[in-house]
């Protein structure tokens, strides 16, 4: 005989909102620091590469170099503002603060917990991903309506990399293990993505690797949106990003379920 269950669903909005309400309250405390770094970082990139390197190279792929870098750095901002919180926040809240333990004893499932955390990080990544464009405008990038799509590209890319961060946190034994991931995975991803130079300049073998890099597709899509070059080919970039996001999200949820439920 079954219990008189008014059956609760998976991924309930109420549970997601509950978990995210905590993130939002916390964000009220640290938004200044986040905003500061998300504006200063692309400014430094644009100064160093746009002005420094740009004096040697005026145009890349028919685009002024400062515009090339300004649009490319959006993906860098999205990567760092999603993968790092995915890794560190998850590990700290789970292992040190035991926040996840408190939430899982309440009516929140692992799937809801991880989804809410990833969603919140991705919304932030999407919003802060626009910062480099705004900075680049000060360096001469012209505004265009296609730029309104950039937060959405950042959001989808953010889901993938935030989930990747959660997955790393699920697998890592200690927080020091993150160094391996940062240097061996994230740094190459960010360099070989067509951010600072076109991947067409790479040897064929490395180029295949670069094309498998989700960040490359983020860079290409953001650039096409921002510079008014959207075409049917961008659907494949969007497709790769969506596939990466869904895949990483499911793997992250699955791995955290293994770790959080005995």
């Amino acid at each position: 005989m079954t219990a008189p269950a008014h059956r609760v669903r998976r991924l309930e909005p109420a549970a997601l909102a509950g978990v995210m309400s905590r993130d939002i309250v916390l964000f009220g405390r640290y938004w200044k620091a986040t905003t500061f770094s998300s504006v200063v970082q692309p400014t430094i990139y644009l100064l160093a590469f746009g002005l420094g390197f740009g004096s040697l190279v005026s145009h890349v792929e028919h685009v002024r170099y400062v515009e090339y870098v300004g649009t490319g750095v959006v993906a860098t901002a999205v990567l760092f503002s999603s993968a790092f919180p995915g890794m560190f926040n998850t590990f700290i809240r789970w292992k040190f603060q035991r926040t996840y333990d408190a939430m899982l004893a309440a009516p929140v499932d692992v799937e809801e917990l991880i989804t809410a955390e990833v969603l919140w990080i991705s919304v932030r990544a999407g919003v802060y991903g626009v910062a480099p464009l705004i900075v680049a405008m000060a360096f001469g990038l012209s505004p265009s309506p296609g730029m309104l799509l950039v937060p959405f590209v950042g959001f989808v890319t953010g889901i993938g990399f935030a989930s990747f961060g959660v997955l790393v946190a699920a697998i890592a034994k200690t927080i020091d293990n993150f160094n391996y991931v940062t240097s061996a995975v994230l740094t190459p991803l960010f360099l070989v993505a067509g951010t600072f130079f076109p991947i067409t300049t790479l040897p064929q073998g490395v180029r295949y690797v670069a094309e498998a890099n989700p960040l490359y597709h983020c860079v290409a899509l953001v650039r096409d949106c921002s510079l008014g070059n959207l075409s049917a080919g961008d659907l494949s970039h969007a497709g790769v990003l969506i596939l990466f996001a869904v895949l990483m999200w499911r793997i992250a949820v699955w791995q955290m379920e293994q770790k959080l439920i005995d």
């Binding site: 008189p4 269950a5 005995d262």
Partner: protein
């Protein structure tokens, strides 16, 4: 502390009835036999807030819970006693769905786990053994976040937070950051967090571990009022006094099973008799007392500087000199588990 007062009405009637919405209309089930069996199931669910049957939980080669049968009647305070490693915390984690049983059946508030776990968690409150508060939030923010998580409707959330602040006597600390609260306040906030949605079942895992005696007394008062208001309380503890003071029923757990169950005084009577004789003296005297007792077939245990001979009421005159006192739950606990308490 006038703010600590709270009655049945506030606690149970707060967000409307917490009970299953279907409970009111059993007739909707269709045929009479269905209705009958359905009603019977409801009755069972109502009398037992928690029921475990043959529950087993293994961690690799270690069996933490080993065929556990346990029924917690609704509206009572149930104390789960046992030494460290007896399986109390694992049992608690299974009740919240954070650990899955390898075998057996678990029902919480009528919901069969693991499928009904989330519904059960909506209806119950949990106070963990380890402090897992968010140190960066304020007291009020902590409660507001959990009011949302516990599905307290938007328009009732503020009242729910205020009421929880009152229950825990933290109203004047509402805007204080958790990191700035004292140990006792943090523990009260943990309890308030578990009561934010006026649950009809509360799990307390070692509620007063590591607290000084004064704070402990304060929390006992709080738990006692909770019980008096009709909330079912399941409390795990290894403080004998805590169980003795608060629990209507105690179960002693050892090696993943229940080894004794009943009202505290029944367990004492059954396991330790009526009187205990405490013998004091130099070590060699105590050694000879233990030896003689073993020969006579009397059960003894060490208790600090003394040797305690159990069931002193049966010794009639042959006993060594010492102090007679009524047997207590601690005697019973040691007899059952073979383990001294700290």
């Amino acid at each position: 502390m006038p703010a600590l007062r709270f009655g049945t009405a506030t606690l149970l009637g707060a967000h409307g009835s917490c009970q299953s919405p279907r409970a009111a209309s059993p007739g909707a089930a269709g045929s009479t036999s269905q209705t009958l069996s359905y009603t019977r199931a409801m009755a069972a669910a109502e009398t037992h807030a928690i029921s475990l049957r043959g529950v087993v939980k293994r961690f690799g080669p270690v069996t933490a819970v080993d065929g556990l049968d346990l029924e917690v009647p609704a509206g009572t305070c149930f104390g789960l006693l046992g030494p460290n490693g007896a399986g109390k915390s694992t049992t608690m984690r299974m009740l919240t769905g954070q650990a899955r049983a390898d075998a057996g059946e678990i029902r919480v508030l009528g919901h069969l786990l693991p499928g009904g776990s989330k519904q059960a968690r909506i209806e119950m409150g949990v106070v963990p053994q380890l402090d897992n508060l968010d140190v960066e939030l304020t007291t009020r923010q902590t409660l507001a976040v959990f009011a949302r998580i516990y599905r307290v409707p938007g328009r009732e959330r503020r009242d729910a937070v205020d009421r929880a602040l009152q229950i825990a006597n933290l109203t004047n600390r509402a805007e204080t950051k958790v990191s700035e609260l004292s140990g006792g306040m943090r523990r009260r906030l943990l309890i308030a967090r578990g009561l934010i949605h006026a649950p009809r079942l509360v799990l307390l895992d070692e509620p007063t571990v590591g607290l000084d005696p004064q704070v402990r007394q304060e929390l006992w008062g709080l738990i006692d009022r909770l019980r008096a208001s009709g909330v079912t309380v399941l409390m795990s503890t290894h403080y004998i006094e805590e169980a003795e003071r608060l629990a209507d029923t105690v179960a002693v757990m050892s090696h993943g099973r229940i080894v004794a169950l009943g009202k505290p005084e029944q367990v004492v009577r059954a396991e330790a008799g009526e009187q205990a004789l405490e013998v004091y003296g130099p070590p060699d005297h105590l050694e000879s007392v233990v030896r003689d007792a073993a020969e006579a077939g009397w059960r003894t245990r060490r208790s600090g500087p003394a040797v305690v001979i159990m069931r002193a009421e049966l010794l009639d005159g042959k006993a060594p000199d010492g102090v007679r006192r009524p047997a207590n739950l601690e005697d019973a606990f040691v007899m059952l588990t073979g383990e001294e308490i700290e």
